[in-house]
């Protein structure tokens, strides 16, 4: 009897949040944490998997501090990580514009933007170190946009009423990543970081209950290799590609996160998936990815559909063009519904509003699944030169893909010039959920840390624009390098484990068996065809509008899809050497498990919040309706021991001290 109680009792989640008021927690933590002295740092090895903003900045900083770092990426160079594609900018509370910004306001906006589902203490720390990031990047030589006086320029992003976003043209992610990459290169040159390109982590090696190494596959030779360390840091990004079509790069995958999950790391809030409102709409069934048009376009672009459904039908039939419809017959639905924030409402709100219009039949494009993003008003006000200076590269990108130039005058009605509007539609973009971490960014597995998009901690149920870059760099430059020392301080006498151990043998054998299994299926379907089917299931039933019934259907379909994968997959070639189909198959298996996890979490969460919208839970006006009484917690999912077994839910209750939890309001 007693034994049963122990078995079913919920593990207690300790988020290790420091004492004190929220504004003093990080300072207190740093004042009292344990450190590792320079001589001991030289004896300690840390594995960092991933070279995006979080991974590269962490690897570089840990190297600078004196640790030995092994750094892995699946691409041919650390500089290719998908952080590079972030366009818009990075937030910080510098208040350079004197518009009333402060650390508290950035903290508040981020918590509110996340629909009150983020951990307060983590978000405050994020807002606190954000200013250091800008200083750091400028010191590295990142060419941020500047005013004529030589000072840094800012722009606005969704969910904020201040201009706090720093940017480098439409290539902010690129410049920040190249900054981190340059610091990383300096450490590689100094011999403190060893860089492994075209390597993919396949499993975590556990010794005596601690993460002590990884099994990685050399993607060129196909060989499995063993790497040992005192701690392992995962910085492998999000799981957006579960949906097949997303704005993520082709290689983005969740396999490293799933390996952690299978080793006992809890996976938190998987249902919180961000659907970005401004992407180029889907065309055809051969499409491989969706292209984002930066949120910064919403500074000057106005989003609309026709007021008259008949005109929408004509647009869908290709009988008229957007520029044929004059101002008074346009429904600027975001400005109409959310007067205070207008076109700059947070992403989840903007995405749902677009879906609402399209579902009602007002959508444009031949599919009816698109809305207009229009620059006519801004071009008429500021001139095409100013607009091109701001968004020229985005206009070019749009034209290259769609053959339509948004900077081209298309019509004049009653003396008013109308330019070609862009067509946009929401697409999967970012995942707020991720591996559960405590305040120190340590997972529920000792010695295993998760940083950047692959952890869950800072964005709650919805991430604000320009906050992903902020979080990745905050974790990598300023948080993990401190907190990991608190863990490593009692590891200084532990020698780095040898890879000739039973644990490494077993882990490698496990991975080898898995790969051999995939190769042995020899069915009929390609990896991509099954992945596309997965994407359809996810988008249809676990996408922007979710219902209990739909989620149950999704779980059934996913089970059948796993069966299809296990029995009818075909991977050509051999297990030795480079095999791009095998790489993809390995990742697809994890995407299916991830899909189930998202659906389970979405089914459990009987409320709507941020990126998670359950159609049963909405207000009369169609806004998300939270249930703070029953769902004010982080949903942590514990692996059931096999992919076929349902995961168990463990709750981390949220405690808000500094912020009063209320209904999000972007209307007034």
């Amino acid at each position: 009897m007693e034994e049963t109680i122990i078995k079913t009792a919920q593990p207690v989640i300790d988020s290790r949040i420091p004492e004190g008021p929220v504004a003093e927690k990080w300072t207190n933590y740093k004042a009292h944490q344990k450190l590792v002295n320079p001589a001991n740092k030289r004896k300690l090895t840390i594995i960092v998997v991933g070279t995006g903003l979080a991974g590269a900045s962490a690897a570089a900083t840990l190297g600078e501090m004196g640790f030995n770092v092994l750094n892995f990426c699946i691409q041919d160079s650390p500089r290719r990580a998908h952080s590079i594609a972030a366009q818009g900018g990075i937030n910080a509370a510098k208040n350079y514009q004197n518009d009333g910004d402060s650390v508290y306001r950035l903290f508040y906006d981020t918590v509110k933007g996340g629909d009150y589902r983020a951990r307060e203490a983590n978000v405050y720390r994020l807002a606190e170190v954000a200013n250091n990031i800008i200083d750091q990047c400028v010191a590295q030589g990142v060419p941020f946009a500047r005013e004529y006086g030589g000072l840094l320029a800012n722009r606005s992003f969704g969910g904020a009423q201040v201009s706090r976003t720093f940017y480098a043209k439409g290539q902010t992610g690129q410049q920040l990543l190249l900054g981190a990459y340059s610091s990383l290169n300096r450490q590689i040159n100094a011999g403190k970081v060893k860089s492994y390109n075209r390597y993919e982590m396949h499993d975590i090696v556990m010794i005596d209950g601690r993460a002590r190494g990884i099994i990685a596959r050399n993607l060129v030779t196909g060989k499995l290799e063993r790497f040992a360390a005192h701690a392992v840091v995962i910085a492998t990004g999000g799981y957006g590609n579960t949906y097949f079509l997303s704005t993520n790069a082709m290689g983005c995958n969740c396999s490293a996160a799933m390996a952690c999950y299978r080793q006992g790391a809890y996976f938190a809030n998987p249902a919180y998936v961000q659907i970005h409102p401004t992407c180029i709409p889907v065309h055809g069934d051969k499409q491989s990815k969706l292209t984002l048009m930066s949120e910064s376009l919403r500074n000057d672009g106005r989003i609309w559909v026709p007021k008259d459904i008949e005109e929408a039908k004509k647009l869908q039939a290709g009988e008229i063009k957007g520029s044929d419809i004059p101002e008074e017959r346009r429904d600027y639905y975001l400005e109409r519904r959310y007067p205070a924030f207008g076109n700059l409402v947070p992403r989840d709100v903007a995405s749902r509003a677009a879906k609402e219009r399209c579902d009602k039949g007002f959508g444009v494009n031949n599919t009816g699944q698109a809305v207009f993003l229009d620059f006519s008003e801004a071009i008429n006000r500021l001139g095409i030169d100013v607009i091109r200076q701001r968004y020229g590269n985005l206009f070019d990108m749009y034209e290259e893909i769609t053959d339509v130039n948004p900077g081209e005058k298309a019509n004049t009605i009653d003396g008013v010039d109308y330019y070609n509007p862009m067509m946009i539609y929401p697409a999967i973009h970012y995942t707020m959920g991720g591996i559960w971490v405590d305040y120190e960014l340590q997972t529920s597995v000792k010695g295993l840390f998760a940083i950047g998009e692959c952890n869950f901690s800072d964005h709650g149920a919805n991430r604000l624009g320009a906050s992903a870059l902020m979080q990745g760099l905050a974790d990598g430059y300023f948080v993990l390098p401190y907190t990991i020392q608190n863990y490593l301080s009692d590891q200084i006498t532990v020698p780095c484990p040898t890879t000739d151990s039973k644990e490494f043998d077993e882990a490698e054998a496990r991975v080898q068996k898995n790969l051999e299994h995939i190769m042995a299926i020899q069915g009929k379907r390609s990896v991509d065809s099954i992945h596309k089917e997965l994407g359809h299931i996810m988008w249809e039933y676990v996408g922007m509008g979710r219902t209990r019934e739909g989620l149950l259907t999704a779980l059934d379909k996913l089970k059948a899809l796993r069966e299809e994968f296990e029995t009818n997959l075909f991977v050509p070639g051999t297990i030795e050497g480079l095999n791009i189909e095998l790489d993809k198959a390995f990742r697809l298996r994890d995407f299916i498990t991830m899909g189930e996890l998202i659906a389970h979490d979405a089914l459990n969460r009987n409320e709507s919040c941020g990126g998670h919208f359950r159609e049963e839970h909405q207000t009369e006006e169609g806004e998300a309706k939270r249930d703070d009484e029953n769902y004010f917690y982080v949903a942590c999912w514990k692996y059931g021991g096999s992919d076929e077994v349902e995961p168990t839910l463990i709750k981390e209750p949220l405690h808000y001290e500094a912020i009063k939890v209320q209904t999000r309001n972007y209307k007034s």
Binding site: P78, H82, S183, N185, A249, E400, I580
Partner: protein, 251 residues
């Protein structure tokens, strides 16, 4: 308007770095013109896998022209016929029904072929590791606005910093020179006060590494800048030469 086109695809196939390569011809039919070039290769690969054959290996990742992973020499041009765009941003509307499209990997001694269209560009990383950074440790930076930088310099540095490290400049150059790539990084830092302190050391170290790794010399033909998908200007090379001369003179 979307139409479908059919064409011949001549693709370089090579099983490994030391194997002998050859062109393989594939008939592609009814490809929508709003398909991207890489999506067209996806379609080819899907067809090959369906036949039980091995797909064509090529590098690609972000598919929005920024990661620098995609390459391909298409009809004699790195990243194909479009200017200022990478292969992943190239759409089939640039081609015509009945065309023969030739697809080769980057060809340069410093970029050995891994398989088919995939090459090893590790040499670029090594050049960056030799000096492409400001020696600054995390923490302790002064306030970002404490150092005003003229907008002109910042914008020009940004233009140079736009390099995506794809290697098209090397592939386009008859000498296989990496000067445009190196000069972009050297210029970014030369234009900014943060980079001035180490300017001399940087330019010498990066050029020495470039020579060591088997890249050719620059003879100012300008093919690199003409083919660069990010329009990195040839004037960067002039600045690199100036920086190098100044560094050498002060030795």
């Amino acid at each position: 308007m979307e139409t479908n086109i059919s064409f011949k695809l001549k693709v370089w196939r090579q099983a490994g770095p030391k194997e002998k390569g050859h062109f393989e011809t594939y008939e592609m039919s009814d490809i929508p013109t709003d398909t991207s070039f890489l999506e067209m290769l996806d379609i080819l690969n899907e067809q090959l896998v369906e036949k039980g054959e091995e797909p064509v290996a090529f590098d690609h990742d972000c598919r929005e022209g920024i990661c620098g992973m995609c390459s391909l020499y298409i009809n004699g041009h790195p990243h194909g016929p479009a200017t200022g765009a990478t292969t992943c941003q190239l759409y089939m509307r640039r081609f015509h029904d009945g065309d023969t499209i030739t697809v080769e990997p980057w060809r340069s001694a410093a970029f050995p072929i891994i398989r088919d269209l995939m090459v090893n560009r590790n040499a670029f990383d090594q050049i960056q590791q030799a000096g492409g950074y400001v020696s600054f440790n995390t923490g302790g930076a002064q306030d970002a606005n404490a150092l005003p930088i003229s907008k002109v310099a910042a914008d020009e540095a940004m233009d140079s910093a736009s390099c995506i490290g794809c290697g098209a400049c090397v592939a386009a150059c008859k000498n296989g020179s990496a000067m445009l790539f190196v000069s972009a990084k050297v210029s970014q830092f030369a234009l900014l006060p943060q980079g001035k302190v180490e300017a001399k050391r940087r330019v010498k170290a990066m050029l020495a590494k470039m020579d060591e790794l088997g890249f050719g010399n620059c003879t100012n033909t300008g093919a690199c800048a003409a083919e660069c998908p990010k329009n990195i200007k040839l004037s960067n090379i002039a600045r690199l030469n100036r920086e190098f001369l100044c560094a050498k003179c002060s030795d």
